[in-house]
Amino acid sequence: MSWAASPPAQVAGSALRRTVGSASGVASLAGALVIWVALLGPVITLLTHLSWHQITTALAVPGALDPLLVSVESGAITLAVLLLLGTPLAWKLARGSLPFPRVWEAGVLCSLLLPPLVIGLLLIFMVGPFTPIGELLGHVHLSATNTFLALVIAEVYESAPYYVLGAQAAFAAVDPAIEEQAALLGDRPSRVARRVTLPLAAPGLAMALAVAWARAMGAFGAVVIIAYHPYGIPLQIWTTLQETGLPTALPFALVLLVVALPLPLAAYFWSARARGRRRA
């Protein structure tokens, strides 16, 4: 038969493929390791360049931890705003229940793609003291420049697209057939959302929220323009760096990491576990 001669060639071919496969496997493993170590590099560097003494002296300065409080407070308010306003938008985007869904998505993407510095500049022109919105705020004795409010606004702008896009993906992963069954079993839409949609989307929502938290904690570009005061940690790092140099700024970098990272990491491990349980 015509294919009787081909097996040896096939064996050679598959052996070759195996070698190439293992070579490319080694290469890709090496690449993965390099990028992973490179990504972790800054964290490792930070830890190797800090001594316990440095940390205690830097943080012992009176008022040194005030920016931490400012950052945590503004970040918490930012998350609340995102949860309240971003979640419904993400759900509607995921279900395609908005007219012109592409336009809505493009709007969210737009704020993601704008450099934070540019956002800060434009925010001045939007909510600054001599704008209609600024004047409106002035009537209720509020100002959206160099205030706590300004800081929250800047953080919302910098973190919102990360949350909305992440939450949209989380909602899109919920099977509509399951929501349909919940409705047929007697749950009106609000109860379906509470008993089925939100619990199923929760791991993804938590991840999106964690990313948004990290962005809000580290927000700098828009903040430095519209909310120089009161200092959050990123500005504290910046001004310390400007005034007294690298070594004194480093402890605050550690503070920022300690504040910004645990929530995302916890969210990551929790959502990974929840997903694993559903798949098992």
Binding site: I178, L184, L185, G186, R188, R277, R278
Partner: protein
């Protein structure tokens, strides 16, 4: 009692179907894919709004497009729907899945003991603490059924729930649903594109094609006496042989409704050479090239036809049929070995036909159809 009268414009045709299902009755909507079967279920469940129509369940008007308009939302309908995807709640245990409706519809049937009882009856008593992800396909379907039972729905809709499962599992689950319907005395509607699935479930069948109900009858009746040629095609008639003495009229041959040998009192006798023969299940499927045909009202006629009508034939046109007739009248002897070929008739037999010579067989009481596809009652259709 479930009464549905649904009209809805689809891209290629208008869906228009009306039927009533009594309490405890099992109706099958049988038809090819894309006939509109699922749409009908979704209208009954309230997932779609019909262009025109009404849905009434136990006297409750669920859908009415005529004023005063009414469209009860799905969560107030108490209509259970099972689909191919059991759609269990993956974040809840089996017990929580079963008891899901208890919070919105508390009452007898949703208590902890009742849930345990249902689980046990469905053979999933040992799984109530598991997560759905750990269940096999059959177990998941049992839980989905149990969840509907515990929700005490007033009607049961099944959208080909068990396609893709293996045969014995399908049989078990179908029996289970039949038991449930009998015990609960709810109207039930099954959508199926496989005749066997419809027959295994239903005590009444509606044959649906392109949005129209072509026939409504018992599963046996629909197969034995299809109301139109299209129905015959859908329920498995694979050859339509022209009747020599009646131009344009054809007799439908179902592969299962033939017996070997010549028994003119029981139907139409056909004969011809065996063109192919292969095992089918426990028996054989043979294709006979029809050369002679003998009907109750005419002498044996030779029917070496010019145009072969295959199993998947389009609706016969009068022209083709009369052409066949003409050739049948002028045609020669019945050898037909290398000729243009007559109508190929697939038949299923218990024993393979003996080789050599023509094979003679009797088509039991074949339904006959006019050129326009409507049914005509002839002497051949003596009851068997």
């Amino acid at each position: 009692m479930l009464e549905a009268d649904v009209e809805l414009d689809r891209r290629e045709f208008r869906l228009s179907a009306a039927f009533a299902v009594a309490a405890g009755e099992r109706l099958a909507l049988f038809g090819p894919s894309g006939a509109g079967k699922t749409t009908i279920l979704e209208v009954i469940a309230g997932l779609q709004e019909p262009g025109r129509g009404t849905v009434v369940l136990d006297g409750r008007v669920l859908t009415r497009t005529a004023p005063p308009r009414r469209q009860v939302p799905p969560w107030q309908r108490r209509v259970g729907l099972l689909r191919q995807d059991p759609a269990l709640f993956p974040h809840l245990s089996v017990r929580q899945n079963l008891a899901y409706a208890a919070r919105t519809r508390p009452g007898p049937g949703t208590g902890r003991d009742e849930i345990t009882r249902i689980a046990e009856r469905l053979g999933i008593g040992g799984l109530v603490d598991d997560r759905p992800a750990r269940l096999s396909g059959g177990q998941a379907h049992r839980v989905a059924l149990g969840r509907l039972l515990a929700s005490r729905c007033d009607a049961l809709l099944l959208d080909e729930p068990y396609t893709g499962l293996d045969a014995s599992l399908t049989r078990d689950l179908t029996d289970l649903v039949r038991e449930v319907v009998a015990a609960r005395q709810v109207p039930s509607v099954l959508v199926a594109h496989e005749l066997e699935a419809a027959q295994a479930f239903a005590d009444r069948m509606a044959v649906l094609d392109r949005g129209q109900i072509l026939q409504l009858g018992s599963p046996a009746e629909v197969v034995a006496a299809p109301a139109a040629r299209r129905v015959a095609e859908l329920v498995g008639y694979r050859a339509f042989v022209p009747l020599p003495e009646d131009p344009g009229t054809v007799a439908g041959v179902h592969p299962d409704r033939v017996i070997p040998g010549r028994q003119p009192g029981r139907g139409v006798v056909l004969a011809g050479p065996v063109r192919s023969c292969r095992p089918a299940g426990a028996g054989w499927e043979a294709t006979i090239e029809m050369v002679t045909i003998e009907t109750a009202s005419a002498e044996t006629a030779s029917a070496e036809t010019a145009s072969a009508e295959t199993a998947s034939a389009e609706t016969a046109s009068a022209e083709t049929a009369s052409a066949e007739r003409a050739s049948a009248e002028t045609g020669g002897g019945g050898a037909g070995g290398g000729g243009a070929g007559g109508t190929l008739v697939p038949v299923r037999l218990r024993e393979a036909p003996a080789g050599g010579g023509d094979f003679t067989f009797t088509v039991l009481a074949p339904p006959c159809f006019r050129p326009d596809g409507t049914r005509v009652t002839r002497a051949e259709e003596v009851p068997t």
